[in-house]
């Protein structure tokens, strides 16, 4: 109506900061590189560089007699991984990692399903906290606590006795491969501790994948004549596979690398993690430790390839 707009006034006085942010706005690539250079430097130089440096040491020679490392390149360390004793360590760790991943998925799925589909607001927050709270406690404290819980005369045994299940426990502990003299020195006990400790890493990805599942898909399935069981098998389970895969990558790789639980719970015998720890800590055989470090990396690469082949990432 009689108003004139004097829009040029704010354009003239510009602080250097405004000038800089305008420059970043005009050149998105500059903005992106400023953001990415520090983490890329960290990731490239410090993380990947040191990892490659470590693996390179796997080719060095360790002199058993003088207990010294010489930079003479050899494949002997990698060959030694296939010694019966070392291969046994790898096989034992791998079996445990697979068993723990499967059991975690089975235990986590109902919890994740309940969280995603039936809780809202405060109940959902309660479940999030309940799932994550154990992660706030020190890992070593939890592992030690489990040795006491599972020990002879411990809480676990007390419960088993009062439920009248002592013969069942005895039968389990005498089974080869999973048994031991008590729960805390058995494979079964070690397996239970692993499942307990890694469970949140399985629950949360499955919960996230179920949360993303639109309710209309479940309605559509029922509408087309599928019973709840068919809907679960044909729709819910296939669409939660990416979550199960993501969770199992955590449980699998964390079990492969762990070196504390195998020392505290279960029968004697090294795991890959405790073997690396022993080789470089007690013995000082850095090349052999480096060679062992390669094992989980290769196993996880194979695992990812299998998971991808099974189509777990197709629905992402």
């Amino acid at each position: 109506m009689g108003q004139t707009f004097t829009g040029s006034a704010p354009m003239q006085r510009q602080s250097p900061l405004r000038h800089f942010s305008n420059l970043l706005y005009r050149r998105p690539n500059l903005y992106l590189s400023l953001l990415l250079i520090p983490p890329l430097l960290w990731f490239g130089a410090i993380y990947l560089g040191s990892l490659l440096g470590l693996l390179w040491q796997g080719f060095y020679t360790f002199d058993d007699f003088s207990m010294t490392v010489t930079p003479d390149l050899t494949l002997a360390n990698f060959g030694a991984l296939f010694n019966p004793a070392n291969f046994d360590v790898i096989r034992r760790t791998l079996t445990m990692a697979v068993a723990v991943s499967i059991a975690s998925a089975i235990v986590a799925f109902p919890i994740a399903y309940y969280m995603a589909r039936y809780t809202t607001g405060k109940t959902k927050a309660f479940f999030y906290i309940a799932v994550m709270m154990p992660m706030w406690a020190s890992y070593i404290v939890k592992a030690y606590a489990w040795t006491l819980l599972l020990a002879k005369g411990g809480v676990a045994q007390w419960f088993v006795q009062h439920l009248g299940l002592a013969p069942v426990l005895q039968w389990l502990l005498s089974a080869p491969g999973i048994g031991g003299s008590t729960l805390s020195t058995s494979h079964l006990g070690r397996f239970m501790v692993f499942v307990y400790i890694w469970l949140p890493f399985m629950i949360l990805p499955i919960q996230a994948s179920l949360e993303r599942l639109p309710p209309s898909l479940l309605h559509a399935s029922a509408d087309l004549g599928a019973t709840p069981r068919q809907t679960f098998m044909q729709v819910i389970l296939p669409l939660s596979v990416p979550g199960i895969a993501a969770g199992s990558i955590f449980t699998f790789s964390l079990t492969l690398g762990d070196f504390i639980v195998p020392q505290l719970v279960g029968p004697p015998g090294y795991f890959i993690g405790s073997m690396v720890y022993a080789q470089q800590g007690a013995i000082g055989n850095m090349p052999m430790a480096a060679a062992f470090t390669l094992v989980p990396i290769v196993l996880i690469a194979i695992y990812l390839a299998i998971v991808k082949r099974l189509g777990a990432f197709d629905a992402l």
Partner: protein, 353 residues
């Protein structure tokens, strides 16, 4: 003859809210029936009650004579086309379409054959191997349609299926849906908030407002004889006249409605049955096929007048805003209105058949 779907005093409460409030409808077999209303009027809840995703709090729902209350969705002979299509993202188009047959145990060769037939019915031959994400919105919608029709349901429910499509595609799909419905002879129950869509496709339309049905009628009757103020205002554009002005114009204090296109500018001598009123031309909107005028009457009320631009030489071009005009309409064009639906509007006879 049994009805395809019959609601008898059906209510659905969500806590204190009556989403559906004592609704009774009879939907004939083979009919294209629309449920029209603003969002939150209860039309989608009615659809979900038929599909079985909701259970009624009170009343009875019969599908082809069989009581449906308590039956889960997978035991009902109805299929739904969802608003967001709800295609299974991990299956290709053919597996999506064949899903209903698969869960019912139809053999593989048979279900592939029928899925491909259903795809060709919606003009998507050769798309069977694609994933839903590789399709456009219009194509996904056709897959959703094929997926529902492959089961040969006796009643097809459509929950605002055209809402996400652009105007041209929507108009095309409207005529295709109508053609498909005639060809298959299935009962279509179509939920929409778009009154043009409801009028152009349906045999009959139920107008919903606040969980109740205001009127069930043919599109023509709905437009020409709206039973309530709500219907008059929701379906098309209406000038609703009340109070003193109504008394002065019609000789009756009841509210009445007059359609914008039934009003014309006074030229020559008025016929004896004509009603005349004058005011100031307030605003002119040129809309292509028609021109819309806002006339501010001396009583303060605004009337909307619409004139078709049916002549090439634009007859309305000489009107200007601010000009004083007299408008008139035939007394027969005035529709007496009631604020609330009369009792039992649901037993309205099915005049389309």
């Amino acid at each position: 003859m049994t009805h395809a779907v019959q609601f008898t005093h059906v209510s659905r409460l969500f806590g204190e809210v009556k989403a559906v409030d004592r609704v009774s409808i009879d939907i004939e077999d083979g009919e294209f029936f629309s449920m029209l209303g603003p969002s939150g009027s209860g039309k989608t809840t009615c659809l979900r009650l038929i599909a079985g995703f909701e259970q009624p709090s009170a009343g009875s729902i019969r599908i082809h004579g069989q009581e449906a209350a308590g039956l889960p969705p997978y035991q009902r002979d109805v299929n739904t086309v969802f608003q967001d299509y709800a295609l299974f993202p991990h299956m290709n188009v053919r597996d999506n379409v064949a899903y209903g047959l698969k869960v019912k145990g139809v053999g593989k060769a048979e279900r592939i054959k029928r899925a491909d037939e259903a795809l060709s019915m919606v003009a998507l031959e050769g798309y069977g191997a694609r994933k839903p994400v590789q399709l456009s919105g219009g194509q996904r919608q056709r897959v959703a349609l094929a997926r529902a029709l492959v089961n040969r349901p006796r009643v097809l429910l459509l929950d605002e299926p055209l809402g996400a499509l652009d105007l041209k595609l929507r108009e095309q799909m409207q005529s295709e849906l109508k053609k498909l419905q005639r060809q298959l002879g299935i009962t279509f129950i179509f939920v929409t908030h778009d009154q043009t869509e409801a009028l152009s496709m349906s045999d009959r339309v139920a107008v919903f407002n606040k969980g109740r049905i205001e009127q069930v009628d043919t599109p023509r009757n709905l437009y020409m004889k709206p039973a309530t103020t709500f219907v008059a205002e929701f379906v098309g554009t209406s000038n609703v006249v009340r109070g003193e002005l109504a008394q002065a114009l019609s000789g009756n204090p009841d509210a009445f409605s007059i359609r914008p296109e039934h009003i014309r500018f006074a030229e020559g001598v008025a016929a004896s049955r004509d009603v005349e009123v004058s005011g100031v031309l307030h605003d002119i909107q040129y809309q292509g096929s028609a021109t819309r005028y806002e006339v501010k009457l001396d009583s303060g009320q605004t009337l909307t007048v619409s004139q078709a631009n049916s002549q090439w030489l634009d007859t309305g071009a000489h009107h200007q805003a601010g000009q004083r005009v007299t408008v008139r309409w035939a007394r027969e064009a005035m529709i007496a209105l009631h604020d609330a639906p009369r009792e039992s509007p649901e037993i309205a006879p099915c005049e389309a058949h």
